[in-house]
């Protein structure tokens, strides 16, 4: 199709980058926000603004709460559909667990209840879960949407498109395209080392945009590449489901052999038995970890085959001091408290896998590295956004001359995806503070504010990019920037008004989740104002510059002939 390797890579980079760039923008941006998802939750759910706590006592605090757990309504309804009729009155609890991190003040508790009358799946089960304040055992009410963990984070990996896991596939394909865009970008960019630090903001819009695109792409190249790759590896089971298809019998056989080797019962015995002191088991686990040279806190605790003679308790260490995830599980016999099995050190392959996934999922305690991750994520967003802008800049003069609207619509989509997405993000935060606390389905209203704001931003973008048809700068960009500035400041003010936790208070008492959030919002608003003013200046200059044409980059004219 192309006479040279470089030209084929240019075509690949341009067109796949353009089409999947919109998805990648969302994945990178909400990924960057997800680094601090738990902290965003503190801002959004003021009842949880207290310090993170270690796992509390099972025997004294958690056991009675677990005993009172029930399956969730929506899970029961889905189970009724699967079974094709009413569910049995008794839904025996099969296992339960608790999970906490060094960043979470709240504790997540969950349980599985057996559904015994499903003809297709004898192991069918439903779930119950809630969050508690570990200091008191009080249950945090459900309708407080965890905007970070339950909205921004799933947006990042699934676009909230759960039907047939379509969102996971789209994001996965976008990740593959990201890898291809990085490789093809390197092929295209001949002076990659010489121009490593090159950024000429005072040149023509096309040139300086391309400089910024190259800069943000190259300096964070390892980050972009490894995050796209590790993201794909995390969900590889979805993309290549070999365990559920061709290798299903092998996987099951291995699972059962593993359980036998570890002495962990696959099924309950059907004989009732009590549970020994779990607190004592926790102490023993911590002693063993310290003995292995990795002292630590409990990250996750699960009890399986509850109330049965075969019950066992698994206690996992929180991996906050290293990149690999929670692990080093110690497994105890339920009725006696005896240690059955201790997870061995990982194999070489498992080690690499744990490292890659742990690097992406970030359970570690390292605030500087987290902020670096945000920087990397935003650099990725800048790379994609400047890619769109360059695409439009390069073509808008040609399209204006030809009378076609291609560049205009790409610009409209770019505005929607870049600044429109920011508007939607700020809108949900503002709605979170404005909506009445007792409003039923408050979380749904908040999500509605997000999507509604984005749709409005899109409509505005479509309307206010019309000047691109005349090769002029679209006023939509600057107008969105003003909206971002306004919403950002509003969010901080509303936090102050509705919770009293203004910046002076939060900084002085060192409560960084909320202080950091407010500061970040203000910084974003300030940046938006700077951008809006620069755009206004550019807009008036661009009218004159429209006649001159873009600066010559030797690669550009050839690529232009191929790509347009």
């Amino acid at each position: 199709m192309f006479p040279s390797f470089r030209l084929s890579m240019t075509w690949l980079h341009t067109w796949f980058g353009l089409v999947m760039g919109f998805v990648l923008m969302v994945a990178f941006f909400f990924g960057a926000l997800s680094v601090f998802d738990r902290e965003i939750d503190r801002w959004a759910v003021p009842e949880t603004r207290f310090e993170p706590q270690p796992m509390p006592s099972y025997d004294k605090l958690l056991a009675p709460i677990f005993a009172g757990m029930k399956p969730r309504e929506e899970e029961l309804r889905l189970a009724e559909q699967r079974v094709g009729g009413p569910l049995p009155a008794q839904k025996p609890v099969m296992n339960w667990g608790a999970y906490t991190t060094h960043r979470d003040p709240v504790l997540l508790m969950f349980a599985e209840f057996g559904i015994t009358n499903n003809p297709n799946d004898p192991d069918d089960h439903v779930h119950g879960w809630f969050q508690i304040d570990p200091r008191s055992g009080k249950i945090i009410p459900d309708d407080r949407l965890n905007i970070g963990r339950d909205f921004f984070y799933p947006m990042h990996y699934s676009l909230h498109l759960e039907w047939m896991e379509l969102g996971y596939w789209i994001v996965g394909f976008a990740a593959l395209v990201m890898l291809a865009a990085l490789v093809s970008g390197i092929v295209m960019h001949r002076r990659i080392f010489r121009e490593l630090f090159t950024f000429r903001p005072n040149k023509q819009a096309g040139r300086s945009t391309l400089d910024l695109h190259n800069l943000t792409g190259v300096v964070a190249l390892p980050f972009h590449f490894v995050f796209a790759l590790s993201g794909l590896v995390i969900f590889a089971g979805i993309y290549f489901p070999i365990e559920e298809t061709i290798f299903k019998p092998h996987a099951e056989a291995q699972g059962m052999a593993d359980a036998r080797a570890r002495g962990l019962a696959f099924k309950p015995a059907g004989v009732p038995a009590g549970l020994a002191s779990v607190d004592a088991m926790v102490e023993e686990a911590r002693r063993r970890w310290a003995q292995r040279g990795m002292p630590g806190e409990v990250g996750m605790l699960t009890v399986n085959h509850i109330g049965d003679r075969n019950s066992y308790v698994s206690i996992y260490r929180a991996g906050s001091d290293r990149v690999t995830l929670v692990g080093q599980g110690v497994h105890f016999e339920g009725p006696t408290g005896r240690v059955i099995f201790e997870d061995p050190p990982p194999s070489a392959v498992q080690g690499v896998n744990d490292f890659l996934t742990g690097l992406h999922l970030q359970h570690f305690r390292h605030w500087l590295l987290r902020w670096f991750y945000v920087l990397g994520g935003l650099a990725g967003c800048a790379c994609i956004a400047t890619g769109f802008i360059f695409f439009v800049e390069k073509r808008k003069r040609q399209h204006a001359a030809l009378g076609t609207g291609g560049a205009r619509w790409v610009d409209a989509m770019a505005v929607t995806t870049v600044t429109g997405m920011l508007i939607a993000t700020l809108a949900i935060l503002v709605a979170n503070r404005l909506l009445p606390v007792e409003l039923a389905h408050r979380g749904e209203w908040e999500k509605g504010a997000f999507w509604g704001a984005w749709i409005l931003a899109c409509a505005h973008a479509c309307w206010r990019t019309a000047p691109v048809r005349q090769a002029k700068l679209a006023p939509a960009w600057a107008e969105h920037c003003w909206a971002i500035a306004g919403l950002g400041i509003a969010a901080v003010l509303l936090n102050w008004i509705t919770t009293g936790d203004h910046l002076v208070a939060t900084i002085s008492r060192g409560y960084w989740p909320v202080a950091g959030m407010d500061l970040f919002l203000l910084a974003a608003a300030a940046l938006a104002v700077v951008a809006a003013r620069k755009l206004r200046r550019h807009g008036s200059e661009a009218g004159a510059a429209a006649v001159e044409g873009t600066d010559g980059d030797p690669v550009v004219p050839q690529a232009a002939r191929v790509a347009s």
């Binding site: 490593l196 950024f199 390892p222 980050f223 990149v323 500087l368 670096f372 920087l375």
Partner: protein, 101 residues
Amino acid sequence: MILFLAVATGFLGLAWLALAMDVHWLQVTGTQSRRPAIALRFLGAAALAASLVLCFIADHVSMAPLVWVMAIAGGALLVAFTMAWKPRLLRPLIPRIRARD
């Protein structure tokens, strides 16, 4: 503290590597004088190596390389923006060795 030093030496290393290039030397010094390119590249590489060592001192062996790679990314951005808007700020970094004329 160690991490701060690691980030700072990373930035210095990148700035020196940038200065070793014609176009950035011109931006910072305003002259086309012979720049001590080899010395600058050596300083740059040494500073980057020092930064990596400091990262390993500060953190667990699995986290140190990640911190270093990201510090380099951030440092490179900072150098690029400084070169673009306020290159004279990097004047003090020029080593006072006599370039052979």
